[in-house]
């Protein structure tokens, strides 16, 4: 158990630091790369929890596709690659206060609610169980999401098309 906790700690620290990087860095490309670290860390956490499938999907879809998309977006909009004076608006301090307060209240609520509840890990969830659930119990949402993706695809093409 200790090993797992150590791994968690390392991953969590990396994630939090990278997340802060995402929202504070002055370079847009760096932000995207920081985001990669956060997401990869998330995948790691999933593995730690024995949820293999979703972990790999996270790696493939997010890190593989979404981030690439972001980088494309950054390049196409000629976002400032070099450190710019400020990428922030003037809500910095109020925003920080609110965000900290939000974390505080969420943390307090969570601690209050779950205290020292342990996660009893059984064997890692097998992919077959997941697919089983997706294609039986959640088949309708699955199809809906499929349509949504299609619509988003077409929508994106229509929007971005030059005409």
């Amino acid at each position: 158990m200790i090993a797992q906790n150590v791994v968690f700690g390392v991953l969590a620290a990396a994630m939090v630091l990278s997340a802060i990087g995402v929202v504070t860095t002055k370079n847009v490309v760096h932000a995207a790369l920081y985001l990669v670290v956060v997401l990869a860390g998330g995948a790691g956490q999933f593995l730690l929890l024995g949820q293999e499938f979703v972990a790999w999907v996270q790696v493939l879809v997010y890190i593989g596709a979404v981030i690439v998309l972001f980088l494309f977006g950054i390049m196409l909009t000629r976002a400032p690659m070099q450190p710019k004076e400020s990428l922030d608006n003037d809500l910095k301090w109020p925003g920080l206060v609110v965000a900290v307060a939000l974390v505080g209240i969420l943390g307090a609520l969570l601690v209050d609610a779950f205290e020292d509840t342990e996660i009893e890990l059984e064997a890692p969830t097998r992919t077959i169980e997941v697919t089983d659930a997706v294609f039986r119990t959640y088949i309708i949402p699955f199809e809906v999401v499929g349509i949504l993706l299609l619509a988003a695809l077409i929508g994106a093409v229509v929007l971005a098309r030059k005409d």
Binding site: N89, D90, L91, K92, W93, P94, G95, V98, A101, L102, I105, A108, L109, D112
Partner: protein
């Protein structure tokens, strides 16, 4: 009993007529006027039927009360006017129940609130007066308003007015009374603003509506309080007038509540009946057509306030402790109005305005009468005043219609008309004498009774006020008669040459109307329109029969109406028929006092004499105002109407409309609307300054910070414009956090 039980038909008939005139009036041969006349005629017949049956009912009750006897004989007897023979009847003590009918109007909170009729002597009397005068005005208007640009609308509004006024009269509950009250206000608005193309007219209409509406704050709250007066006494609220009166007399309602109810209702009366200090709208209301002034702003609508006072009199009686004598709010308001109204009548050049101020003053008498406990006298004065004041107004209308080219300026456009307009002159003179209170005309009897009541009930102050008022009334009316009918005719051709010079807006008005009629939309300049004037605008001449007949009818009433309650000859029919016997207060009746009567007539004659000496004989200090600074200031004070109009228009309305409303709006746009944006700006500036201090330290940073903040100001303006998505998101999140925290802490 049929007429009494079905008295709801009386308002209903004109109401139907209103709808008919509105919908098909323009297509009828006489453009709807025939419908109006017929409907009001029918109402008049119904009202007369109700009056006869009420008299019979009173007689029956007395018959049952006394030794009995043949009812029919008593009715005939009661109707008779022969002095002495029947006057000795002792009527007191008989209880005559009002005839009531009602049906559910709406229910609220399980309480059913009704609409219905309560017909008693007071209501019957009012029904009679309203329908009679309305009928005469309808007939008169067919000639007077002939060719008007909105003839049909005029008749529709008259019908609606009659219906609303009668609704108010027959109402069995204060709420329904309020409905009628507001509706007559609406009709008054429509008719004052009848010629709304010209701004002064619509201004006058607005002023009338808003001023009476100001009084209605009181009426509204007062009516509401009557509901709770009943609730205090019986446990269940009600607007029923009978219930209110019973509750007020029951002694179970606290005096404070009754006082405030009475005070609130009095405010309503002040607004509607042109009492000081809300009287200023009434003279302006003369912007409407003259028959309207006669019907609405003299004889009927403006007495609605007095009627209300008479209707729920026990509330005032108890609330103001009228029994105690001395001074009370109601009598004071009435007394002040008597004097200030009469004083203003002296400086008017417009004959209608003289009459308007006279109306204010006479209404003051009525309110004062109620205030001093002379209920019957006040109501009797309402009754007689309606006839002679309508007579005077219609007479003034007749003069302007046929004698002065539609002008009402008696100094410039009238004079010497007594020979060319003999009928008008005679009827006007009768009206004047009746108003002045000369024995034995109608005004004498009613005014005398008010003075008598004031004297006997412990209100000596108001006796004096009344006498002073009587002197002034006689004097200004004599002045008015002098300018209109005596001296040289001054209405030469100058009115034609320079129409804008004429004081009455109606001149321009009427011609415009005719120009429009003849040339449809092709609007001609006023001067050209004059070229088309034909015979009836030429030399002064007597008005046609449609105008003079109503005048004659009214002067007959002005002469004889007073004998209904000629206490000097022991006739007390009016009191017997009209005074309520159910849920009423013990008002005192006093024997006729010859001394006081002689004094009051003498004072009136003195007033006439003084005026006669001043105007006819040229005695006294002529043109004083031009020579003496004090007199000039005094006159100016009067001409400016005590500056009350300035107070209301410039100070009150001006303040509400300009600084106050603008300030509120500014507050809205710049404070409330921007509180979010300013919060953001403040926070931003604060953050920036802190950041600079922490981060860059030193003077440089401060300078930078100031520079940035100043630069921000420009951005902030833009901030207001764009709505700043992220800023709103910030607020959203912040609020969620705060609420979550609060909920967590609380739960």
């Amino acid at each position: 009993m049929w007429f009494l039980e079905n008295a709801w038909l009386v308002p209903l008939v004109p109401a139907v007529s209103f709808a008919v005139i509105l919908l098909v009036g323009k297509r009828l041969p006489k453009q709807g006027s025939e419908v109006g006349v017929a409907a009001v005629g029918a109402s008049f017949v119904l009202a007369c039927g109700a009056a006869l049956q009420w008299i019979q009912r009173v007689a029956d009750a007395e018959g049952a009360d006394a030794e009995g006897g043949h009812a029919l004989a008593r009715v005939i007897g009661a109707l008779g006017r022969s002095v002495g023979r029947l006057g000795a009847e002792e009527a007191h003590g008989a209880v005559v129940e009002p005839v009531t009918r009602h049906t559910t109007w709406f229910q609220n909170g399980g309480v059913e609130l009704g609409v219905g009729i309560q017909i008693d002597g007071l209501a019957v009397m009012m029904m009679f007066v309203v329908t009679l005068i309305s009928l005469l005005v309808h007939v008169y208007s067919t000639e007077y308003m002939r060719g008007d640009r909105r003839f049909t609308h005029y008749y529709a509004a008259l019908s609606l007015f009659t219906a609303s006024m009668l609704t108010l009269v027959v109402a069995d509950n204060t709420l329904q009374l309020l409905v009628g009250w507001e509706l007559v206000g609406l009709c008054s608005f429509m008719l004052i603003g009848h010629w709304w193309e010209e701004k002064p007219n619509s201004d006058a209409a607005l002023k009338a509506f808003l001023t009476t509406r100001t009084g209605d704050i009181g009426l509204l709250t007062g009516v509401i309080m009557t509901y709770f007066v009943v609730e205090r006494a019986t446990g269940e609220g009600s607007f029923s007038i009978l219930a209110v009166n019973e509750a007020a007399t029951s002694g179970e309602v606290g005096h404070t509540l009754l006082f405030w109810t009475a005070a609130a209702l009095l405010l309503g009366i002040i607004g509607k009946s042109g009492q000081f200090p809300l009287h200023t709208w009434l003279p302006d209301a003369m912007a409407g057509p003259t028959p309207v002034s006669a019907l609405i702003h003299a004889a009927t609508m403006v007495v609605a306030g007095v009627y209300l006072g008479a209707r729920v009199y026990p509330v005032f009686w108890e609330g103001f402790s009228i029994d105690d004598g001395g001074v009370n709010l109601m009598a004071a308001v009435g007394g002040i109005t008597v004097i200030i109204g009469a004083a203003l009548a002296f400086v008017q050049d417009d004959v209608k305005k003289v009459l308007a101020y006279s109306t204010i003053s006479q209404l003051g008498y009525m309110v004062m009468g109620l205030g001093v406990g002379a209920w019957t006298a006040a109501v009797f004065h309402l009754f007689t005043h309606a006839f002679f004041k309508a007579n005077l107004f219609l007479g003034a209308g007749s003069v302007s219609h046929s004698g002065s080219h539609h002008s009402f300026d008696m100094k410039k456009d009238m004079g010497g008309l007594r020979t060319v307009m003999p009928t008008t002159y005679r009827t006007f003179l009768i009206g004047t004498l009746a108003l002045a209170g000369i024995f034995p005309l109608a005004g004498f009897w009613s005014k005398d009774e008010i003075l008598l009541g004031a004297g006997e009930n412990g209100y000596e102050l108001f006796l004096v006020v009344g006498l002073v008022g009587a002197f002034m009334t006689a004097a200004y009316m004599t002045r008015c008669v002098y300018y209109v009918f005596f001296g040289e005719y001054r209405g030469g051709d100058h009115a034609h040459a320079d129409p804008s010079h004429a004081a009455g807006d109606e001149v321009v008005e009427h011609h415009l109307a005719e120009a429009q009629d003849r040339h449809e939309d092709d609007r001609l300049p006023v001067a050209t329109a004059h070229a088309h004037d034909d015979g009836h605008h030429g030399a002064p001449h007597e008005s046609p029969g449609l105008i003079t007949v109503p005048l004659v009818v009214l002067s007959v009433f002005s002469v004889f109406a007073g004998f209904l309650n000629a206490t000097a000859f022991d006739i007390e029919k009016f009191q017997e028929w009209v005074e309520p016997t159910v849920a009423f207060v013990p008002v005192e009746h006093h024997a006729f006092d010859w001394t006081k009567a002689v004094i009051s007539v003498a004072i009136a004659l003195l007033g006439i004499g003084a005026s006669y000496a001043y105007y006819w004989l040229g005695l006294g200090p002529q043109r004083l105002a031009e020579r003496n600074a004090v007199a000039r200031a005094g006159k100016r004070f009067l001409v400016e109407k005590y500056y009350l109009d300035h107070l209301y228009t410039d100070v009150v309305v001006g303040f509400v409309k300009a600084p106050l409303a603008r300030a509120a709006y500014w507050f809205n746009q710049h404070v409330i609307d921007n509180v979010l944006n300013y919060t953001g700006r403040g926070a931003r500036a604060l953050g920036r300054v802190t950041y600079d201090y922490v981060d860059q330290k030193g003077v440089d940073g401060v300078v930078n910070g100031i520079g940035l903040t100043t630069g921000e100001a420009g951005g902030a303006v833009r901030t207001i414009q764009t709505g700043r998505l992220q800023f709103y998101a910030f607020l959203l999140v912040a609020a969620v956090v705060v609420f979550a925290a609060l909920l967590w802490v609380a739960g």
